[in-house]
Structure formats: C-alpha cells, structure tokens
C-alpha cells in the first residue's frame, strides 16, 4: 500500500496530528498523549463500543462519536474537551453510576480503579438518583478470581478476553436490558491457564484476585520489577510487597516478551512463599543422625569440609551437583565453578531429561527466533509438547499466528488439545516413527538434507497422508518453525527424536526451536551447569555425570540446589534412593521435602523467588535481570551468596564477588565472547535403540516447588485436568 496515501492529517483539540488511515481516533489520541476516558476499549481486545465513555465531538457529526470506534479520516476535526464532549462524558458517567455501589472503602479496586478515577475526572459531584440499586448475586469463578458482580459496568472486557485471548469462551452476558448479567451462567470455575488476566482487565472492582482479597490497599504496596520463574518465556512481572511480605504479583508490560499478560502460574505462585515447610535455619546432622539448627558459619564449614573430604578420598569425580532448572544464571555459574574447582564436571540441571546420549551434538534449548516473530510464521510444527500448558504465553503467540492463517500442526500423544485451530495432526504415542515418516515424505518430495545416521530409519518409514500433509505445510510455509517441546525432550529416545526433528527443520528450511523445563534452562547451559560443557559452550576435558548417571551411580558427595527429588526429577523415587545412598549430601533448600530432610548432612536455607537478585535467560536468549523484592525468610540467603562463600571457604580462586552483578558481568562476558561462534547441531551417527516411548508432559501446576505449594492453583480445574499419558516410559 502507498504509505503516502495511507497517511492522514487530523486535528485533535485544534492540534494537527499525523495518523494512519483506518486507525481509530482513540489510538491516535493515545499515541499523542491526549487522554480520552474509556472503560470497554482495550488496546489488546476487539472494539465493542458499548460503554460510551469515550464520546468526543467530531466536526460535522450530528452526535457525539465513540473515539474507540471512529476511524480517522483526512481532515477530521475532533475535540475531547469541548462543552458538548464534556457534557456527554458527564452523562455517561452518571448512567454508569446509577447501579454501581458506593462501596469504594471496602473494595479492593479502590485506589487503582478506572471507574473511581473517571468519576473524579469526568463525573458530577452528587447523584440525582434515589432509587435502589441493582444487586447481583456473587458468582463463584473458582479459587483465583473473586467476583462482586454488583459492581460490574458491563464493559465486556472479560467476555472478549475469553473469546479472543484465552480462546475458551466461558464468560458471557446473559439476560438482557436491566437483567443482563456478566457471568458463566452455570456455576463453574474458570479453566483457562491465563484466567487471572481478567482481574487486570476489569476496570472496576467486579473481578478481583481471590487470594489477595482484603489483604492490602493498592497504595500501601511497593512495586519491584521481577521475572516470572516458571517457564522459558520470562514474563515480566511486578512483585508488590508490604512490610517485607509479597502481597501479590501483577504483569509488567513488555511487548517483546509477555505483552501485557501473565499466566496464572506466574501470578499466583507467590502464595507458596509463606508455606509452612520453608527452610529458614541452617542445619547440620549430628552424630546421632538428628538434624540440628546451627549458625551459618558452622553449617558452611560442615558443608565445605564434607565435600572436600569426599574429593580428597575418592577424587573430585565422586562429587555431583543437581540444580533446579529455574535457578538464576549467577547461581548456575557459581555452582559449576565450585564443582569444577573441586574437580568434578558432574553438574546438571536437566532434571526431567532421561536420554543424554545426544547431548554433545545438540544445540542449547532455545527458540531460534524472537517471541514476537512467532506471530509472523506461516507454518508451525509442534513436536511432543503440550505447549499451551508448558509455555502459556509462548503458546499465545502461536495462537495468534494460527488465527491469522498460519498452518499449525502437531505430532503429539492423544488427548492434548489446544485453544487454536490445527491444520494437521499426527496423534501417536511413538514419536520416532511419526517423525521418520514426515522426514521420509520430505525426502520423497526432493528435499535434501544431512540424514547421516538417520537414513535407515527414514527409508523404512511408512508415509501416511497425515505425515505428507505436515511435510507439505512446512515446506510450503515461507516462514516456518519446528518446535520441540517437553514431551519430546524428555523421551527415553530423545537423541533420535532430536535428530529427526532437527532434520525435518533443516530440510524444510524451518527455524528449529527447542524448549524444555524451567525458567532458565538456556541460562543453565550457557553458564556451564551441565556435565559436557563448561561456561559459554567451552569444551570439557572429561564429560561428567549427567542426571541419569547420577541417579544410577549415586555419587559419594552430592550438592543439591532448590531440588525436591521425588517431584522434580524424571526418575522420581529412584532419584530419592540415589540421594539416600550417597555418603554426604549438602542441600541448598527453599522447602523442606522429606528426601532432603531425611538424608541431607547439611541443609542451607536458600532464598526463594522474589528474595534473591539474579538473571534468567529466556527462550529467545534475552538476559533479564531482577533484584530481590523482599528479604529472604528467616536465615535464608540467596544462592549466589551461599555458593560464593563455599567457594571461598574451599580455598578456590575467583570467588571474591561483591554483588550478583559482579557474577553476572563475569559470566555474561564469557558468553558474549562465545556468541560469535554459532551453536552447532549435527546429525547423530549412533542411533541406538530406535523404539520410542512417549512420556507425559509435566502437569502445569506440578512443574516446580512453588506452584506445587500454591494452594489456590492446586484448586483450579486445570490442576485436576486429565493429563495425556501414553507409553510406558515412566
């Protein structure tokens, strides 16, 4: 389109402004800092123009026009503060307040309420109404969202959110006229993984955070920016505190990452911070086998001496370390530095992965493109992933692509459903044959690629129409991506699946995206918290023990960081046994789980999410740093501080950091130098056993120790939804 022709000039409040043809008046006003009051209009939702609050005067228009639904035209003159506009805004305000209760003093929205602000700015000072107000019975939306529907002004933002963003229309407007009510009609808890966002969207106090209800006023809260610790999106959040306690978490707008949304997991996981089983004191096991509380100095000495003892008797190789995949990059870096300093390469954070045979050939788990670019894709293939539950806001970008016409197809076990339309579906509990068939279809279509090692598998594959369709849509897509998710990544034949998925991506010229568990898997790899690579992808002289080998071999000395063995590791009970068999176990623990408490020789209380500064590297490779929002509970300390002191006490060089920023700049510096070299992927030479068993995706509210302890999350329908499980891998 001709950009010149596309531009129009309008006059808003007698100021000349440039705008794009077809833009709504309210968008132009927003872009130029002219404020127009509104309730129903929201930049991320469709225009409904039903609240009438944004009425403005437009030249030659007989009546006031809603700015949200009035497209600009060349030469248009509009006024937002003319006597007519002000009169209209005042009338609308009066209408909206006819039925709105005057209960601001007991309403959680008070102080951050659009209606309150607009009433102050545009409303009258008294009410002419003496009639009774409409009362609506409270509705039960489940454990996350509380309702007070008498306050509802029928803007329908929550209704549109359900249809347009969550993709699960659950809320609607039933009845009509004076009897219209916003609600679900039948009593039901909201089932979307993004449901909490309607709390932010609601311009009045009708939809509120249930766990936060009546606990603080908005003006008492101090807001600290943070990064959500549950998935590889790295959603930006505001952690709001009062008197050193986290009161709630709300989204921080970042168009490039989470837009204005956060998942329910990100919003409500803070509720775990106060759970009763927080570890708040350093503890050491005495000669009677009892854990006794002690001071930091003695506990750290016991920890370091114990580990050095193992290293001196059995060699550094007898030590192993396991860290949560949601540890900060600084923690990962110091952990591997400590372990390598003690002579061990056995550091790992890939807790739910089972097959490590292909690790040296694999690229870091990353998107390969930006989150925003996902929306521009024409074809997307999702391999082994319940992406909507694994990475809710990344899935939202795929949904946007699908709704604007992208062909999205899946190779997944049965029972996984998405809130976006699929153009092709291969339902299987055997990923390898399905992927081989798609690769074969591509080869048959004349797509060349490096299939060394995979040739036999691909040649034997049986191509069905579903496989053919997936192959065609990927090849046909101008911008295509192949996304390998948790189910595939955790498979017992991960190496083969990885190679096949990579081959499919390379043959079709698609971006190869690999997503795995935790908030910082990429940071963990970059920092070198893996047995086969040092910091910044440097090679290691000998590959240490990975998670699976540590479970098999039970290292003599174990250092655990933020881990609950039975829930966090794929091996579960076997992992717990390995820990119990180990001779000396040091745990940096936030929560007291039974395995840790039952076995550890030293327990060091680890600061939780919101209590420590650090950096997460999200799936697109963005380093996002954050500070601590509150002081750690009890005697707990941030992981980087604990590890720094352990390094110093072990007489290792280079542990004299003053702040987490010092640690960050060191690891960042190393990685930036290495980034000139491209991460490489090459096809496998050794296929091993190619029979494939699929594992289940980790349930959305079971992924880490925080969400598992967030009671409101556990009460949602999603926490109880049947999870897709097939195969017999576990």
């Amino acid at each position: 389109m001709d950009t010149q022709k596309d531009q129009v000039t309008i006059e808003l409040n007698d100021t000349r402004l440039e705008a794009r043809q077809g833009q709504m008046l309210i968008e132009v006003a927003d872009a130029n800092g002219v404020s127009i009051p509104r309730f129903c209009y929201h930049k991320k939702l469709s225009v409904s123009a039903n609240c009438r609050m944004c009425l403005v005067e437009v030249e030659n228009a007989p009546k006031m026009l809603p700015a949200c639904a009035t497209p600009v035209t060349d030469g248009m003159k509009a006024w937002t503060k003319s006597p007519k506009a002000i009169a209209a805004q005042k009338s609308v305000m009066e209408f909206l307040l006819i039925n709105h209760p005057l209960d601001c003093p007991v309403c959680d929205q008070g102080g951050e309420c659009d209606l309150q602000e607009m009433a102050l700015g545009y409303g009258g000072d008294t009410s002419r109404y003496t009639e009774g107000k409409r009362i609506i019975k409270e509705k039960d939306y489940g454990s996350l969202v509380s309702t007070e529907m008498s306050r509802c002004i029928h803007c329908t933002r929550c209704v549109r959110f359900g249809v347009e963003i969550a993709g699960i229309p659950e809320i609607g407007g039933t009845g009509r006229g004076d009897h219209m009510q916003i609600g679900t009609y039948v009593q039901k808890a909201l089932s979307s993984e993004l449901s909490g966002n309607i709390i932010d969207l609601c311009p009045v106090g009708a939809l509120l955070s249930k766990p936060f209800l009546f606990s603080a006023r908005s003006w008492e809260l101090k807001s600290v920016p943070g990064v959500a610790p549950h998935d590889a999106v790295g959603s930006n959040i505001q952690i709001q505190t009062r008197n050193g306690k986290v009161m709630r978490v709300i989204p921080q707008e970042n168009e490039a990452v989470n837009e204005i949304w956060i998942s329910d997991r990100d919003r409500f996981s803070y509720l775990a911070l106060d759970s009763e089983d927080r570890v708040t004191q350093p503890m050491v096991r005495n000669s009677d086998g009892q854990l006794v509380e002690t001071d930091w100095q003695s506990a750290l000495e016991a920890a370091v001496n114990g580990m050095k003892m193992v290293a001196s008797t059995d060699g550094g190789g007898a030590l192993g370390a396991l860290a949560s995949p949601s540890s900060t990059t600084e923690e990962f870096y110091l952990l591997q530095k400590l372990m390598r300093g003690l002579g061990s390469n056995s550091v790992d954070h890939r807790l739910r992965q089972q097959d490590f045979s292909g690790q040296s050939d694999q690229i870091a788990p990353q998107l390969g493109t930006t989150l925003q670019q996902i929306e521009q894709q024409n074809a997307v293939l999702i391999v082994g992933s319940d992406i909507q539950r694994e990475q809710p806001l990344l899935s939202h970008r795929i949904r946007k692509a699908a709704l604007s016409g992208a062909a999205v197809s899946t190779v997944n076990p049965d029972g996984i459903e998405f809130n976006f339309p699929l153009s092709g579906e291969v339902v299987t509990d055997q990923l390898t044959p399905a992927l081989s068939a798609i690769a074969r279809a591509m080869v048959d279509m004349g797509m060349g690629g490096d299939l060394s090692g995979l040739s036999a598998l691909v040649a034997d594959a049986n191509v069905e129409p579903a496989h053919q369709a997936v192959a065609e849509s990927l090849i046909g897509g101008e911008k295509a991506m192949v996304l390998m998710g948790e189910i595939a990544y955790r498979d017992q034949n991960q190496a083969v699946i990885y190679a096949l998925t990579g081959a499919i991506a390379s043959m079709s010229g698609a971006t190869f995206s690999v997503l795995t568990e935790g908030a910082n898997a990429l940071g963990g790899l970059l920092a070198g918290a893996v047995p086969h690579r040092d910091t910044a992808d440097a090679t290691v002289d000998s590959v240490g023990m990975d998670v699976a080998s540590m479970v098999d071999m039970a290292p003599k000395g174990l250092l655990l960081m933020g881990i609950e063995a039975e829930s966090d590791l794929a091996a579960g009970p076997a992992a717990a046994d390995a820990i119990r068999k180990s001779e000396f176990v040091v745990s940096l623990s936030t929560f007291a789980d039974s395995v840790t408490m039952g076995k550890s020789d030293v327990i060091l209380p680890l600061a939780a999410f919101t209590e420590s500064s650090g950096t997460f590297v999200n799936a697109e490779g963005e380093w996002q740093s954050f500070g601590g929002a509150v002081a750690p509970k009890g005697e707990a300390r941030p992981g980087w501080k604990i590890l720094r002191v352990m390094g110093t006490m072990a007489n290792l060089d280079g542990f004299d950091y003053n702040s987490s920023e010092d640690v960050l700049s060191e690891v960042r510096g190393l990685c930036d130098q290495a980034e000139t070299e491209k991460w490489s992927w090459s096809a496998l030479s050794d296929l091993g056993d190619a029979s494939s068993c699929t594992v289940a995706s980790t349930p959305i509210y079971q992924v880490d120790s925080l969400v598992r302890r967030s009671e409101p999350l556990q009460q949602t329908p999603l926490a109880h939804a049947g999870q897709a499980t097939t195969g017999g891998a576990e």
């Binding site: 699960i168 659950e170 039933t174 009845g175 009509r176 009609y185």
Partner: protein, 160 residues
Amino acid sequence: MISEAARADIDRWVEKYPEEQKQSAVMAALRIVQDENGGSITTEMMDEVAAYLDMPPINVYEVATFYSMYEHKPVGKHKLCVCTNISCMLRNSKGVVDHLQEKLDIGFGEVTEDGMFSLKEVECLGACVNAPVMQVGEHYHEQLNPEKIDRLLDELRQES
C-alpha cells in the same frame, strides 16, 4: 436428549446456512428443543444444542436468556402472554391481567395447579391496533375483555 425427529428438524435449519456457520441455526434449534420439551428448556438441553452446533455453551446461554420466548422453567400447557406495553395499557391491559390472575389463581411466571396454564407479561406484540392483546401459542387474541377471556379459557380447556 434431543430426539431423532428434532435433530432432523434442526438439520433442516443448519442446511440453510454456510457450512462453517452452523451456529446461525441456534435460535431455531432452541425453539425446536423447547417445543419438544413441552415449552421450556433446561441447561442440559442448551449444552446439547451447543455441542450439536459446535459452539461454546455460554453463547447458547446468552441467546437463550436474551430472547423472552425461551422459557427456563416449566410452563403450563398453554402459555398466556399478555402485553402490558403502552397501547395495551391505555386500553386496560391491567384489567386483562387482573381477570386472568383471579380466574387462574396464579401470578406472572406461575403455572396453574393442573399444569394447564401459565401467565407471562410480555413487551409489545406489534398488534396495538387491536389492543389489549394476548398471545397463546401461535395465535393472537385481540381486543380482549373478561367475556372473551373466559370463552378462550374454556375453549383451551376443552381442546385438551
């Protein structure tokens, strides 16, 4: 459960719309289901209509609660819909209502003990020229007075 006959009837309506717009048939489908169920619909029926037309249940609830011709509570065999809007009001619809309430011993939204009649207040039926007006089934009864109403009630009783 929606019967086979009802399904066939709904299908006739579905056919009238483009294939990807099955949900356009929702009003007809609700009416068919309501008729089959003796004049009212239940939430389960709305869910079935939603599933049959491949649309979210909440959208069916919205339609079914918006239009006053859908009943969500059981009604009598004959639903007497009395207009009380301005024209009928000026022509003494109140008298009509009072007479019916006294005669049947029920109020608006109630059903007679024998399940024969229910009474409903409705908005303008578009027959102001012959106000006051009442709709029973598919028929309009106009220029009502007590005698006419008594006759009508007798006829309706005899019919069944």
